[in-house]
Symmetry: none
Subunit: 187 residues, 4 copies
Amino acid sequence: MSRDKILDAAVRVFSRSGYHRSSMDEIALEAGVAKGTLYYHFPSKALMFQALITEGMRMITGRIKSAINQDRTLQEQIELVIRLNVDLFLEYSELAHIFFNEISNGIEEDVLLVVRNERDAYMQFIADILIEAGMAQEDGRMAASGVLTMLNGLCGYYLRHPGEAKREQINRLLYAAVTTGLLQGQA
Amino acid sequence: MSRDKILDAAVRVFSRSGYHRSSMDEIALEAGVAKGTLYYHFPSKALMFQALITEGMRMITGRIKSAINQDRTLQEQIELVIRLNVDLFLEYSELAHIFFNEISNGIEEDVLLVVRNERDAYMQFIADILIEAGMAQEDGRMAASGVLTMLNGLCGYYLRHPGEAKREQINRLLYAAVTTGLLQGQA
Amino acid sequence: MSRDKILDAAVRVFSRSGYHRSSMDEIALEAGVAKGTLYYHFPSKALMFQALITEGMRMITGRIKSAINQDRTLQEQIELVIRLNVDLFLEYSELAHIFFNEISNGIEEDVLLVVRNERDAYMQFIADILIEAGMAQEDGRMAASGVLTMLNGLCGYYLRHPGEAKREQINRLLYAAVTTGLLQGQA
Amino acid sequence: MSRDKILDAAVRVFSRSGYHRSSMDEIALEAGVAKGTLYYHFPSKALMFQALITEGMRMITGRIKSAINQDRTLQEQIELVIRLNVDLFLEYSELAHIFFNEISNGIEEDVLLVVRNERDAYMQFIADILIEAGMAQEDGRMAASGVLTMLNGLCGYYLRHPGEAKREQINRLLYAAVTTGLLQGQA
DNA sequence: GATGAATGAGCCTTCATTCAT
DNA sequence: CATGAATGAAGGCTCATTCAT
């Protein structure tokens, strides 16, 4: 259906150029529909973006939860969550950048609120794992915030220095930051 | 002078609305000068942004370097660097936010390059300390990138949840991420 | 359609104020459409200008060529071409004025090239007749250039001094310049 | 003095870029004075241009008249005037273009009027020679207009096709147009 | 459901001009 | 005489949005 073609195209375009540099023209072109069609399915650019984030997160958290919902040790869970997050981040890098760096993009305030809530829910989801592993409530939420932005930074570095860094490093360093400290996170 | 008024206003406006949503009109208004005056002092919006970053970083790195240049153990150095960074980040949160986040979306390529170099130089500066502490070269650079964005995320959380989080937590979690792992970073 | 309204208005405005003093606002106003509509139909001011020249010339050369394509002596051909050119110039004086004068000052290089080619093609068309009449190749091209700008000047004079000059004089002087010299071109 | 430096620079700049593309900044730079100095000596850009044309024409017509004011045959006079005009045109090509192509440049109406008068005086000066050579009054004025725009066209062609055309051709073709007709103007 | 022509507010930038020194 | 910092009107262009079909 048109709606899905549009949403798929929008993810690609937003992810390639960021929210502001992505134009409705470009999205329509990429989706292979007329520009008016975008407005048939979504009331505005901002609300299209919101739909994309909301539905995308539903899918993503679903995928992660179902992957976790099997008997695993805490350590395995942490490793798995990290790996899945890194994979997702690298696949949808610009979108993830937007998702984790709120203010940077002057989206309409109400839409921003929805995106933030979505993000906070996701962070709580990560925090819960850390808390279950023994962290204090407060520390857990804050640490989750830190871990996810660190993931943001490591992936960013990886993408900006192709060839230099290896993908496996990202996972290793993140795991180290959580469990042993970065200074021990090496052979 | 006008130039300083403009730069001050630009930091506020850019960090409030992000690069793209900030208009030259808004900056001129905030600075209390005519729009033409912006172009008397800076050739373009992008180059104004570049000047703001370059001059801001010169001040910040200068302050950190002069604070470190004394005999200390590595551990003390790490603690100190973290504390200074957190202090600076919270003091100049607007500038810092721009520096760490607003570096991707459609600024002219050459300006982007200058800003990135500035940031990479700073990260290398942090990386050198980690490497001296025993990290591998590659891991050091990448880890520095991760630590600084984590700092970004923790400070952001702190600022977004006033009252909930305490400032000391930021330092403690960062130090833990570097030395013992976040899960051990608690009493 | 909008596109035609715009092109018509553009000819009027450009020939009234010249390329640089003509603003897109003015053209939109004259065409009775919104400014954005101009950009829906033409990618830029320069390309609008190019379209106007190209399409205008296509019409004009078409008309002249079809009038010539019959058996005539060279002398008749020269007389005919002069008369047709004068007629066209006076009928489309605005467009002609642009075509012969407004071709130098700071339009984008590629557009300028297209317009010049269009004009050179037309001049070659005139040159061929002179060459066939016995002129050297080189001289023919250059002379055609001279004759057409002279036509420009004579018609301009005629239009600027209504009442003083008679239309027939234009034809006579031009014909004289080509065949007997201006000094002999009189009863 | 400053005034002369400015006028000299203005001729170069206007002649290089045309009236509209020449900025007061550029003129000040070329003259080696501050921008404010321009306005100390001239009330506005348009009036500076007017001064430049008026004083330039005074010099030019002076030069031509003094060259003519010696015993010569009419034929020699015509040859001489043509040569001098071509020399001047090629030396100050853009300026000459402006001078002969009025409307093209949307200069302020009053200044335009002065420039036009200056030009009409010059054309009358050329016309007088043609009339003395036997042309009718009316034809003389119109023909002078035609000859000068033809000169405009030939020089333009020469400048646009470097290498192809030779400078001597311009003189020869112009002389032919006046005396024998272009078709006879060749060996 | 879908289209695409048309819109107009808003953006970055240029530049002739002013004025206090 | 001369300066140069400051101005603000105006220009070309982009783009989210509307609406008749």
